[in-house]
C-alpha cells in the first residue's frame, strides 16, 4: 500500500491541467481519422522535454488513453475508425448513428472506455511490481533476448507482413548503430556531419510516423467523408448507466479479455475490441441484433480496447517490451527522461514516485477522458469537418516544431525528414513503421547487452552457453520462436484463405 502514498502528487494544479489538456488533445487526435494515437503520442514526446518526468509521462498517458477512446467518435458518426482500436465499435456504432442514436452510441462508447480503462490501470497497478522483481534477476543475456522478443512480437503482428516486420525491426536496430558505439565510442556509418551524434529517438519517432501520414493525407486531399447528422438529446447519460447495469457479463468479458490481450506484447486494442465483440455476440441470447445498431456491441468493443491501454504498460514498465505500437513510442518518452524500464521504476529510492504518479494519473485520466468525451460528443462533428488538407499542413508544422525544439538543431529535422521519406517509400511496399521505431529504441539496449554478455561469456562459459542455456534464456528464446511461429502460421492461414476465396470467385 506504500504505492498509494505517491498518489497525492497527482493532485497539483499543474498535473491536473496536464491531464485536462492531454485528454482534450487525445480526443481531438483520436477523432480525426488520419491521426492515430501512436502519432499523437509521438508528436507530443518532444514537448515533455520541458516538463519533469512525472508530468511528461502524465501528458503522454492522458493523450494515449483519450486518443484510443476518441477513435470511437468517427467510427460511430462517419463509419471510419479514428483509431485502429475502434474497428469493432463501427459494427454497431455506425448503424446506431444512422438510426439517429449517435449521441447514445457515443455515451456508451465513452462510459465503456471509462470502465475498461479503470480495469486496465488497476491491473497495471497490481501486476507490475511482481513482474519488475522478476526482471531484477535478468543479466545481459536475458536483457538481450527480451529486446529480440520485443521486435518479434511487433513484427509478428504487422498484419500479414512478418518478414517485412522483422526486417524493419532489424533495420531499426542497424539505424540505431549510426553514430558512436555505446561500449567502445568508435564512430560508425557517419556519412555526413548530420549523423555524428547518431539518430535520436524523437526525430525517428516523429519522422517514421508523421511524415508517411502527412504524405498519405496529401494523396487523399480530394477524399471527403460522408457526415452523419447529429442532434444532442437530454437524459442520455442516465439511460447509458442503466444499460451498463444490465450488461455485467459484457463488461466483465470485455475488460478481462482486453487486459489479457493488452499484456500480450504487440496485440493491441484492435485485436481486443474484435475478440471481445465476437465473444459477446457469440454468448448473447440475441446475436442477430449485433451489427444492426446494438449498444451492447459498442460497449463490448470499447470496454476491451480501453482495457488494453493500462495493460499494455505492464510489460513496458517491467521488461521494456511495449504492449502496443503506442506503448513503443511511450518507451521513447520514458528513455528521454532517463527512465529505464525494470525494477528501478518501482524502487522507492529511485523512480517509484514518478512511476506511481504516472499510474495514478492514468487512473484519473480515465475520468477526464470520459467527462471530456461526453462534452465533446456535442461538438465532435465539427472536429471531423477539418479537411485532410489542413490536417496535413498542421501536422507538418507540428512535426518540424517538435523535432527542432528537442535539441534546437536543424540536423534533427533533416534526420526526421529523411527517415520519414524512407518510411513513406517503404510503406508503399508493405513495410510497417512500428517495428523500425522499436528497433531504433531497443537497438542500443540490445547491442550493449550483447557486447557486455559476450565479454562475460568469453571469460566464463563461452558465448553459446551464456546466451543459449539457462532457464530464463530458454524461456525467452522459446517465446521469440513462438512469436515468429504464430505470425507465420497466421500469415499462411490468411494466404490459404485468400487462395480459397480466389478459387470460389
Amino acid at each position: 500500500m506504500e504505492m498509494l502514498s505517491y498518489f497525492g502528487d497527482i493532485f497539483t494544479f499543474q498535473n491536473l491541467l496536464i491531464l485536462l489538456l492531454g485528454s482534450i488533445g487525445g480526443i481531438f487526435f483520436g477523432a480525426m481519422p488520419g491521426l492515430s494515437p501512436t502519432m499523437a503520442v509521438a508528436l507530443l514526446v518532444p514537448f515533455t522535454f520541458y516538463m519533469d518526468a512525472a508530468s511528461g509521462l502524465l501528458l503522454l498517458g492522458a493523450v494515449y488513453t483519450s486518443a484510443v477512446a476518441g477513435g470511437a467518435i468517427t467510427a460511430i458518426l462517419i463509419n471510419i475508425p479514428g483509431a485502429p482500436a475502434s474497428i469493432a465499435t463501427m459494427f454497431d456504432g455506425a448503424p446506431m448513428a444512422k438510426q439517429g442514436r449517435g449521441q447514445q452510441a457515443l455515451y456508451v462508447a465513452f462510459f465503456g472506455s471509462l470502465i475498461g480503462g479503470l480495469v486496465g490501470v488497476i491491473a497495471l497497478l497490481f501486476f507490475t511490481p511482481p513482474l519488475a522483481a522478476l526482471a531484477m534477476e535478468f543479466g545481459p543475456a536475458e536483457l538481450f533476448w527480451v529486446t529480440v522478443f520485443g521486435i518479434t512480437v511487433i513484427a509478428g503482428l504487422s498484419g500479414g507482413m512478418l518478414i517485412k516486420g522483422l526486417f524493419g525491426g532489424i533495420l531499426g536496430m542497424l539505424i540505431s548503430c549510426i553514430g558512436e558505439s555505446p561500449m567502445l565510442g568508435e564512430p560508425r556509418f557517419v556519412v555526413h556531419d548530420v549523423f555524428i551524434s547518431g539518430i535520436a529517438i524523437v526525430p525517428a519517432l516523429i519522422g517514421l510516423f508523421a511524415i508517411p501520414q502527412i504524405l498519405t493525407l496529401v494523396e487523399e486531399v480530394n477524399i471527403t467523408a460522408t457526415k452523419t447528422k447529429y442532434s444532442p438529446q437530454p437524459g442520455v447519460l442516465g439511460k447509458t448507466i442503466k444499460m451498463f447495469l444490465k450488461w455485467p457479463k459484457t463488461v466483465a468479458l470485455g475488460s478481462i479479455l482486453g487486459t489479457i490481450i493488452g499484456i500480450i506484447p504487440g496485440a493491441g486494442g484492435q485485436v481486443a475490441g474484435l475478440i471481445s465483440y465476437d465473444q459477446v455476440k457469440k454468448t448473447s441470447k440475441n446475436p442477430q441484433c449485433f451489427g444492426e445498431g446494438n449498444p451492447e456491441g459498442v460497449a463490448a468493443s470499447e470496454v476491451a480496447n480501453s482495457s488494453t491501454v493500462g495493460a499494455a504498460m505492464i510489460p513496458l514498465l517491467t521488461l521494456g517490451i511495449p504492449g502496443s505500437p503506442t506503448a513503443a513510442v511511450l518507451l521513447g518518452g520514458l528513455l528521454i527522461h532517463g527512465l529505464f524500464p525494470g525494477p528501478d521504476l518501482f524502487d522507492p529510492n529511485k523512480y517509484a514516485n514518478v512511476t506511481y504518479t504516472f499510474i495514478g494519473g492514468m487512473f484519473l485520466a480515465q475520468f477526464f477522458m470520459c467527462g471530456i468525451g461526453f462534452f465533446f460528443s456535442r461538438y465532435s462533428h465539427s472536429i471531423m469537418n477539418i479537411s485532410n488538407l489542413m490536417m496535413a499542413g498542421a501536422v507538418t508544422v507540428l512535426a518540424v516544431f517538435g523535432t527542432y525544439c528537442v535539441s534546437n538543431s536543424v540536423d534533427d529535422v533533416v534526420i526526421m525528414f529523411l527517415l520519414g521519406l524512407g518510411m513513406y517509400i517503404g510503406s508503399k511496399f508493405g513495410f510497417p513503421s512500428a517495428p523500425v521505431v522499436l528497433g531504433i529504441i531497443l537497438g542500443p539496449i540490445a547491442e550493449e547487452n550483447f557486447l557486455r554478455g559476450k565479454l562475460i561469456a568469453e571469460t566464463d562459459v563461452g558465448v553459446f552457453n551464456y546466451f543459449f542455456t539457462g532457464n530464463m534464456n530458454i524461456v525467452l528464446i522459446a517465446l521469440c520462436v513462438f512469436s515468429i511461429g504464430w505470425g507465420l502460421y497466421s500469415e499462411i492461414k490468411a494466404w490459404r484463405k485468400s487462395k480459397a476465396d480466389c478459387v470460389i470467385a
Binding site: I163, F167, C177, L184, E186, V221, F401, Y404, N408, K454
Partner: protein, 153 residues
C-alpha cells in the same frame, strides 16, 4: 500487394543491407560486430522473402492491388516534398513562425482542388495565422521554448 511490388520490396531489402555492408567495409573489431550480425540477418530475411515469393508465384492469388485504382498523385507529392525541403532549409534563416506560416498557407492553397477565390484565400490565411499564433502563445510566450528567430520571427 502485387508480385511486381513484392519483388521490388525484396530488391529494397537487399539494397538496404548492401548499403550498410558497404559503409562498414573499413571497420574492424567489436564496434562493428553487432551491425554485421544485423546485416547478415537482413540478407537472410531477404532470401527467405524471395523463396516465399517464388512459392507464391506458383500458386498466384488474385489481389485487390491488381486492379488499377486512382492514379498516384505524383505531382502533388513531389511538390509537397520540395516545399518541405525548402521549409527546413530556410527555417533558421527566416525564423520558425514565419516559415511555418508561409509553408502552411502556401502549400495548402497550392494543393487544394477547388477554386482559389479571394474569400477562400483570406479564410485560409486566417486559419493558418490563428494556428501559428496559438503555437506562438503556447510555446514561446507560455513555455518559453527556444526556436530559431532568423531575420523575421
Amino acid at each position: 500487394m502485387t508480385a511486381k511490388k513484392e519483388w521490388v520490396s525484396i530488391g529494397l531489402m537487399v539494397l538496404a543491407a548492401l548499403a550498410f555492408l558497404f559503409l562498414m567495409r573499413d571497420y574492424e573489431g567489436s564496434a562493428i560486430l553487432f551491425p554485421r550480425m544485423m546485416v547478415i540477418l537482413m540478407l537472410c530475411l531477404a532470401a527467405i522473402k524471395a523463396v516465399a515469393e517464388i512459392v507464391r508465384m506458383k500458386k498466384p492469388v488474385l489481389n485487390i492491388d491488381d486492379y488499377a485504382g486512382e492514379p498516384y498523385p505524383w505531382l502533388r507529392i513531389i511538390f509537397v516534398l520540395a516545399a518541405m525541403v525548402v521549409y527546413i532549409w530556410v527555417l533558421e534563416n527566416l525564423g520558425f513562425y514565419t516559415t511555418a506560416l508561409l509553408f502552411f498557407f502556401l502549400v495548402t492553397l497550392a494543393i487544394q482542388n477547388f477554386k482559389r477565390t479571394p474569400k477562400v484565400i483570406a479564410v485560409r490565411f486566417a486559419y493558418c495565422f490563428g494556428f501559428i499564433l496559438f503555437l506562438y502563445l503556447l510555446f514561446s510566450v507560455l513555455l518559453k521554448v527556444q526556436l530559431p528567430k532568423g531575420i523575421l520571427v
